[in-house]
């Protein structure tokens, strides 16, 4: 028997796959299905201080090598959202991660406090949405000082609930950012959000297709970038890493883990794999490990560095 269970900042996951934020997780019922589909943990769509409609459609598109999206952080606001988090915690048979965003450090603190009251297994500060720069400014995760400020404010209100900092591949200061959030109290790092932003133009319409024009790129297209980012973060910090970006198979997950991730986030792969994609990835990992005589996935974390 091979062991797929991992521990993330004190929280036990039966396998390393985590439903990424913004994918399916608008309601407790969909989170429940992702957990049934095999997810080791599930993340809710990011909640902000107030209800937000996000950008008009088109907001999510499929292209040859992945997805591009500018949903624009639509969410019902933390007041209604915290109730859904509490309901999810009750109903979902896997750890529930509550993701959140805000426009400044003080607000990060407020939202973190309100969500902590709903008792999710973990909190995840989304410091890295590339689709709301016009309204909310440059993402916190681009600069170590900004990232640290937001994490510190959130941590103060998070109580004993572990806090994940979700970083961005879109910074030349990634290692500094990783160190800064670790020092500010993050218990884990999610590496990370979408790449870019990118743009698709319809040649016949002669216009960008997304209403927001630009949007974050995800899926297979970004996997090599995400793997390199996980590599860099692993070299910089001691806290565990969730490797997110383009994971759709057991081999993809193992690649992330060998780069230094303890767990993997899965988003875009849900498009073709549906709710069951988590179980499929876990099973493929298990098969590879059995074949290669690896008894616990924990032995593989960061092996590519050795």
């Amino acid at each position: 028997m091979v062991e797929l269970g991992v521990e993330l900042a004190g929280i036990r996951l039966r396998n390393p796959t985590i439903l990424a934020s913004g994918i399916l997780g608008v309601t407790p019922a969909t989170l429940k299905r992702a957990a049934k589909g095999g997810a080791g943990a599930v993340t809710m769509k990011s909640l902000g201080p107030e209800p937000r409609q996000g950008h008009p459609n088109p907001t999510v598109l499929e292209w040859e090598c992945g997805l591009i999206n500018a949903v624009g952080l639509s969410n019902p606001g933390v007041e209604a959202g915290a109730k859904e988090v509490a309901e999810a915690v009750k109903k979902v048979k896997a750890p529930v991660i509550a993701s959140f965003f805000a426009k400044d450090a003080a607000e990060f603190g407020v939202v973190a406090g309100r969500l902590a009251a709903a008792k999710p297994a973990m909190l995840e500060a989304n410091l890295s949405c590339p689709n709301t720069i016009r309204e909310m400014g440059i993402p916190f995760a681009y600069e170590p000082e900004h990232a640290a400020e937001a994490v510190k404010a959130a941590k103060e209100r998070a109580g004993d609930i572990p806090l994940i900092a979700k970083l961005s591949p879109n910074t030349h200061r990634l290692k500094e950012v990783a160190k800064a959030v670790e020092a500010a109290g993050a218990g884990a790092i999610n590496m990370g959000n979408t790449l870019g932003p990118g743009m698709l133009i319809d040649v016949d319409a002669r216009k960008p297709i997304l209403a927001n024009k630009a949007g974050g790129v995800s899926g297979p297209a970004i996997r090599p970038v995400a793997v390199r980012c996980v590599w860099d973060v692993y070299e910089s910090v001691k806290i565990p890493i969730i490797g997110t970006g383009g994971v759709g198979s057991g081999r993809d997950a193992l690649e992330m883990i060998m780069a230094g991730a303890t767990a993997v986030g899965v988003g875009s792969a849900v498009a073709s794999g549906g709710f069951k994609v988590f179980g499929k990835i876990a099973k493929e990992m298990e098969e590879w490990m059995a074949k290669n005589g690896v008894s616990s996935v924990r032995e593989l974390v960061g092996v590519a560095h050795k």
């Binding site: 999510v60 639509s74 606001g77 216009k207 988003g267």
Partner: protein, 257 residues
């Protein structure tokens, strides 16, 4: 995803028009596509015609998007991606189709497909008034028995489509019911079917973003309307508490359906 040229615009009734697009898509009745007007918005619409290298979408002017769409002219371009979702799949011989208002959009197409496969079809269609009836003639030409209900009695029976369905079910000549229209009407249709032990397939509508099962925006009790619907069979409708009671807006906030 691609832009498609408008080949023809047909007036179906004073409120509704069909745009025929130059697109060789293979869609079944009940499936939908996302239609895009650059610079304005993108919305899901059910196929109302499909075949011979073109597809049709029937729209009523209900907001800025449908207003603009229904004013577009032959030769202009509309973005279209799809087909998405699952259509109606009734495997039975005697089928009632129940539509109300603009919701009848995919049902003329459905009546034609079912009649072609040899089913005996009763087409029950309701509207506020005579002029707003959709696809009654089309269903008749396809060989369906057509039962018309108008709120004001301006054509045939005065009353709701559900009243006519109730009579049909009482007569016991129906194996399955396919419905699309206002959700309260579909809920009623479903309950009538349940009372008689008759299979019901309903085409549901929720706020959509991606259309292919990623964003989760369209969920109803955990079912994804875009990917697992929009047409759901009785076995799933039975498990939905939100069917006929709760929708979510663009923010994801729950509203009364």
């Amino acid at each position: 995803m691609g832009m498609a040229k408008i080949l023809e615009v047909r007036e179906e009734n004073p409120r509704m028009r069909t745009l025929f697009l130059d697109a060789a898509m293979k869609a079944s009745p009940g499936q939908f596509a996302m239609l895009w007007i650059p610079g304005l918005n993108e919305k899901p619409l059910s196929f109302s015609y499909c075949g011979e290298g073109r597809v049709g979408f029937t729209v009523a002017k209900v907001g800025p998007f449908s207003e603009k769409l229904s004013q577009m002219k032959v030769g202009e371009l509309v973005g279209v991606r799809g087909p998405f979702g699952n259509g109606f799949k009734p495997k039975w011989d005697r089928i009632a189709i129940v539509g109300g208002g603009c919701g009848a959009a995919p049902l003329g197409f459905l009546a034609e497909e079912l009649a072609r496969k040899g089913a005996k079809v009763s087409f029950v269609v309701g509207a506020k008034t005579k002029g707003e009836l959709l696809f009654a003639e089309r269903a008749r030409s396809a060989g369906a028995e057509v039962l018309v209900c108008t709120d004001d009695g301006s054509e045939e029976r005065k009353g709701f489509a559900t009243d006519a369905l109730k009579d049909l079910l009482e007569k016991g000549k129906i194996d399955a019911v396919c419905t699309c229209g206002p959700e309260i009407m579909m809920r009623k249709v479903f309950e009538l079917c349940e009372a008689k032990g008759v299979e019901c397939q309903a085409s549901l509508e929720r706020w959509m973003k991606c259309g292919f099962g990623v964003c989760g925006q369209c969920a109803i009790d955990g079912f994804l309307v875009c990917k697992e619907g929009p047409v759901f069979p009785s076995s799933k409708l039975r498990r939905m508490r939100e069917f006929g009671t709760l929708k979510r807006d663009a923010c994801g906030l729950p509203l009364k359906a």
